[in-house]
């Protein structure tokens, strides 16, 4: 394992320390229990948004704390869900009285810990669960689909509504709409190494890719030989379009997300291939996002998320945001 580490046990603490120092104009890192909050107090009457999950997906979620997005983020150990006391402490810290909306990715550990945190928090609260990953079949009898990169879009869009006075109910409703209108498909070329494990999470041949990979290096639909980008991108988009079934000329946001180890140069190439494919299907791309937003440590690979947009979604997407990882309009 080659990583910037002093001591494995201090990995998370030291990384959070650095994050706090680097972005001290926007956020504050609180320890024991660990949560990242905005530097400023939540406005009276504004609904607070709190998300969180295992670390190793940076900038998600700490990088999205700030104006127009989250009020707090609860980082767990690398790839392990955070604990209920973190969510409780974050909620008590940020809630202005208008209530708290927890944004949770659909992974069993996250669901259970957020549920317990919500039970322990005495103030008004509600939750939305993201499950945009089309690689996994959805079913009410199983854990269902994973919540992955579309969580970033949910946090941005609902964050804007909350900033502009949306109620807890309205924020939840919009979040659920964005989640339902999104589909994501991921591909990995290499594994990632969890610091505590010290070795790669899975083995993969030099000429292989994992199609439908999750954001922890957990396997997806199938293992295949790598192919030209156009073919991979077409297969990814086919899976998304099968699920989302957008109308002809429907407005969409195209989000190409890096898994951490793939350079932006390649992500833009993927974006180009995706544009071409979507154009051939008559789907209009009205907004774009390209970069490393929901990563899996140093994994090479990318995910594509397509979001069907209506006016409400577009208005809130375009609204000003000022966080460590996303900033525009202010």
């Amino acid at each position: 394992m080659k990583k910037f580490i002093n001591n494995v046990d201090d990995f998370l603490k030291e990384s959070l320390n650095g994050f706090g120092k680097a972005h001290s104009d926007i956020i504050k890192v609180n320890f024991e229990p660990n949560f990242i909050s905005r530097k400023t107090k939540t406005k009276e009457g504004k609904v607070s948004l709190i998300s969180g999950g295992g670390s190793g997906h940076e900038p998600m979620h700490g990088g999205f704390v700030g104006h127009g997005m989250l009020d707090a983020a609860c980082p767990g150990f690398v790839f392990s869900a955070p604990t209920p006391d973190q969510m409780q402490a974050a909620a008590e810290h940020v809630d202005s009285g208008a209530g708290v909306l927890f944004i949770v990715k659909n992974y069993s550990g996250d669901i259970m810990n957020f549920q317990m945190g919500a039970e322990m928090y005495s103030g008004k609260n509600d939750s939305i669960i993201t499950n945009d990953d089309v690689a996994v079949e959805d079913s009410t009898f199983t854990t269902g689909r994973r919540g992955v990169a579309a969580t970033v879009l949910v946090e941005k869009i609902v964050g804007s509504l909350a900033e502009n006075g949306g109620s807890l109910e309205e924020c939840k409703k919009l979040g659920e709409k964005v989640n339902k209108n999104s589909g994501t498909m991921g591909v990995a070329f290499t594994s990632c190494t969890v610091p505590a494990a010290g070795k790669p999470t899975f083995n993969i041949g030099n000429d292989e890719m994992e199609f439908g990979v999750g954001i922890h290096g957990e396997p997806g639909r199938k293992r295949e030989k790598i192919q030209p980008s156009k073919t991979i991108v077409n297969n990814m988009l086919e899976a998304i379009l099968d699920d989302l079934k957008p109308q002809k000329n429907e407005k969409t946001l195209l989000f190409v997300n890096g898994m951490g180890g793939t350079p932006l140069t390649e992500l833009y190439l993927v974006y180009d291939d995706a544009c071409e494919m979507l154009k051939s299907k008559g789907i209009e791309i009205t907004r774009s996002l390209v970069g490393n937003y929901c990563t899996s440590l140093e994994m090479q690979g990318a995910s594509i998320t397509l979001l069907k947009c209506d006016d409400e979604i577009l208005k809130n997407w375009d609204a000003p945001v000022h966080t460590a990882a996303m900033r525009w309009g202010m």
Binding site: S80, A81, T83, M112, T143, A197, P219
Partner: protein
């Protein structure tokens, strides 16, 4: 009803069991990690090891406390110190055990069984998982059912505990051929088949360690 009944389930009992379990889990850590890397993401063993370490380290703080207080402190430690599914589930286990009535009285075997059954039921509720879904509940639910049978039967306690180790092992092995419908392995579909569930394996080791220490008492 089972014969020898005194002194089951105390703070010292829990701490000494945690120490025994820590040794067994450490011995089998590589195997559990490999199982998790097959069908999960590899964090389970670290969570279990971190939890055991935290409980063992609590010894000085809780050794003189009454059982209910001790259990609550273990619950909060596990809940806030582990994370992932294991933290929520084991935290729930201890928290609900602490809610069993009359913990200030002497705990006989029957009462100890009731506490464990209550704890496992609460885990089932929290994780919304039942048997046949390729999780730790595949081991824990049958163990809880057997405890329920034992607590009101005339079976010799040691014989009963020995049957429990057998049940835990059989149910752990049975997860190998299951499709996972809950937890991270559920995302794998058919590909999860052929691998034992890591949570089932760690739970089986825990049950086995506790039962054997009581059998050899």
């Amino acid at each position: 009803m089972i014969t020898e009944t005194k002194g089951y389930m105390s703070v010292n009992f829990l701490i000494s069991q945690a120490k025994n379990i820590q040794i067994v889990i450490d011995e089998n850590a590589a195997e559990i990690e490999a199982l998790d890397q097959n069908i999960g993401d590899g964090d389970h063993i670290f969570n279990v090891q971190r939890g055991l370490k935290l409980v063992v380290e609590l010894e000085d703080d809780i050794k003189n406390l009454p059982l209910q207080k001790g259990l609550n402190m273990i619950a909060m430690k596990v809940l806030s110190g582990i994370g992932g599914s294991s933290g929520a589930l084991f935290g729930t286990f201890f928290m609900s055990m602490a809610k069993t009535p009359d913990l200030d009285k002497d705990i006989d075997f029957k009462k100890a069984c009731e506490m464990v059954i209550t704890g496992i039921n609460a885990m089932k509720e929290r994780g919304k998982a039942d048997i046949g879904e390729k999780t730790m509940m595949d081991v824990l639910i049958p163990v809880s059912e057997k405890l329920n049978e034992l607590k009101s039967s005339n079976t010799d306690m040691k014989e009963g505990l020995s049957e429990i180790t057998k049940i835990a092992e059989d149910r752990m092995l049975a997860t190998k051929d299951m499709l996972a419908t809950k937890g991270r392995a559920s995302f794998l579909g058919e590909r999860a088949k052929g691998h034992i569930d890591p949570g089932a394996r760690s739970s089986q080791l825990i049950i086995d360690t506790i039962c054997k220490s009581l059998i050899n008492k």
